[in-house]
Symmetry: C2
Subunit: 336 residues, 2 copies
Amino acid sequence: MKLGTYKDGSRDGQLVVVSRDLSAAHYATGIADRLQQALDDWGFISPQLQDLYETLNNGKARHAFPFDPAQCMAPLPRSFQWADGSAYINHVELVRLARNSEVPANYYTEPLMYQGGSDDFLGPTDDAIFASEDWGIDFEAEVAVVTGDVPMTSTPEQALEGIRLVMLANDWSLRNLIPDELAKSFGFFQSKPATAFSPVAVTLDELGDAWKGGRLGLTVESTWNGRKVGMCDAGKEMTFHFGQLIAHICKTRNVRAGSIVGSGTVSNRATEVKGKKEWTKGYSCIAEKRAIETIQDGKPSTAYMKFGDTIRIEMKGRDGQSVFGAIEENVAPLKR
Amino acid sequence: MKLGTYKDGSRDGQLVVVSRDLSAAHYATGIADRLQQALDDWGFISPQLQDLYETLNNGKARHAFPFDPAQCMAPLPRSFQWADGSAYINHVELVRLARNSEVPANYYTEPLMYQGGSDDFLGPTDDAIFASEDWGIDFEAEVAVVTGDVPMTSTPEQALEGIRLVMLANDWSLRNLIPDELAKSFGFFQSKPATAFSPVAVTLDELGDAWKGGRLGLTVESTWNGRKVGMCDAGKEMTFHFGQLIAHICKTRNVRAGSIVGSGTVSNRATEVKGKKEWTKGYSCIAEKRAIETIQDGKPSTAYMKFGDTIRIEMKGRDGQSVFGAIEENVAPLKR
C-alpha cells in the first residue's frame, strides 16, 4: 500500500491512504490519525489500512478525493530517528579521487552513517529555505526506509524483516560548511539542514521483484532546473544493503518503530567508452558532478544551487508509473 | 513546575506532575497525556499543568500518590531531536592534553555538537544494557534542556527564550569505539548508545537564581559504585551557554518543540595546590579521570565500567534538596 500525510495545520498532519496510481486518496480516520501511530502498532493497524487501500484501488472507497502531492507533508513530518548511510561507495571514491585521497579500507567493510536532525522535515513540494546562497546548496537524491522495532544486535537479515516502508529523500547538504565541520571530527551538523521526503511511502509488496535483498533495483531520476541530470540505478551498486545499514545502528542500541534510514546519494560507477571513463548515468548530487569535473579538468565548473533553482526527484516502477510521487522543490531565501 | 513520565506499557508513557519536594505525583490526565503534547502546545497547556502543580504542592490534589522514580521513563521517552554539545572546553582540553594534541582555535569560538539517537531513551533507573564489556563503558553526567520552537537563525539570546525545561542526562559513551568512528570523520554513532535522563524535568522558575544567562550554577554529583567521584560546578565554566548551543543548531534549520539539547560532560578546571595542578572537583566521566592519570603518570590506571557497576547522578538545589531526582543505573549485559 501507499501512505502519505496531508497538511492540516498540525505538526504531524493527517494520515492518508493513496491509490497505487497516485490518483486518489482517502483519510485513514477511524484507523489511525498519524503515520507514527500506525508504525507503533503495525501488526494491528496495517491490515486495516491495507483493506482501505484495496477498496480505494477498486474505486469503491466512499470518501475518496483526488490526491494532490502539494497538500503533503513528509510521510513522517517529524520522526524519532533519521540515520543516513553512505551506502554507495562509488560516491565516496569519486569525491576522494577528486581530492587525491585514498578511500580508507574499512569503508568497504563497514557502512558510513551519520545521525541527522529529524524534528522538522520538509514535505515533497515545500520550499527548501536557506539563509545564505554561499553555503554550497546541493541536493542528494536517496532511497530511505522506515523501520519497525529492530532489537539491539540484530543481524542484517533480521534487520531486513524490520523494514515497513520505502520512500525517496532529498538530503539537502551545504557543501561549503562541510570541510570545517568534518575537521572538528564530530560529524555533520549545520551542513545538513532539513531533509525532504517523497509524497508517499510504500510497503515492500508495491515494489515487486525490484526490491531484492534489501536493495531497490529502480532508477532515481534527478531533474535540476528542468534538465535531467541523473538516471542512477539504486540497486546493483549499493555497497551496503538496507539490512546492513540498520544492523549498523543495532550494534549498540535498539532501533525503534518509525526510524528512518537513508541510503546516501545514489551513485553509479563510470563505464569505459572508447578507453575513456564516462559517467553515463549522471549524478544524484552536484558534489559528484564537481568531483568528476575535477578529475577530468583539474577543477569544478558546475556551481552549486542558487535561490530560484528547482529540483525534481522521482522513481518510476517497471510499469513506467511513478512509485512514490515526485519531490519537487524550489530553493528559496529565508524571509526575516 | 516539575514534570515526569510514568511507565504505562506504552511507548510514550503518562505525563505526571511531581511536587517540588519530589514526594508526590499526580497524573496530568485531562490536561495532557504525554509531555510532547504539552510541549507542542505549551502556551495553552503549561498554565493548566502549573495550576495542578500548585494544588499538588499545597497538598490539595485529589488523586495524588507517592512519587516513585523507579516508575519513571525519561521525561521524553523518545524525542524528535537529541543534540549534545561539548560546552565545557576544559573537558576537551584535558582529553587533548593527555594525548599531546592541541585544542583547535575554533573550539573556543564555536560549540562542538553531535546529533544523538533519540528513538529509545532510558528511564532514570533503567538498566544500561550493553552487548560487550570491552567497549569502554563510561557515564557522562550532563545538564540538558528541552526547547519549544526556535526558528532558523535565532540569536543565542532569542534561543534562551525557547527553553522550556531543564533536566539531567547520562550520555552513555563507549570509549573504545570512539577512535575508529572519529577517524571515519562522520562523527559518533555506535559509540553513543541510548541516553538516560533524570526522573523529572523542571521549568526555569524552579531553579531561581541558580539559572543565569543560560547556565545552571549548581553542582552535578556523580557517584560510581557508591563512591562520590564528581562534584562539578555546572555553571561558571560552561564555555558556551544553552542559548549559544541552541543557536548553533538554528544556523541552518528550525529547532522544533521537544528538542533536547545537552551540555556535554560537566567539567571543571584544575586548581593550583602547592604549585601542583589538582582536579579537586573530581570528574563527570571516567575518560576525564583517565586523561588526568595520563597527564600525571604517563598512563591511565582507572578502568572503564564493568557489568554490575552502578552510577548515580544528582543535583541539589541551594536548599539542599534534589532538584531533578537521581539517575541511578546498573550496567547490565544484554540477555540474548
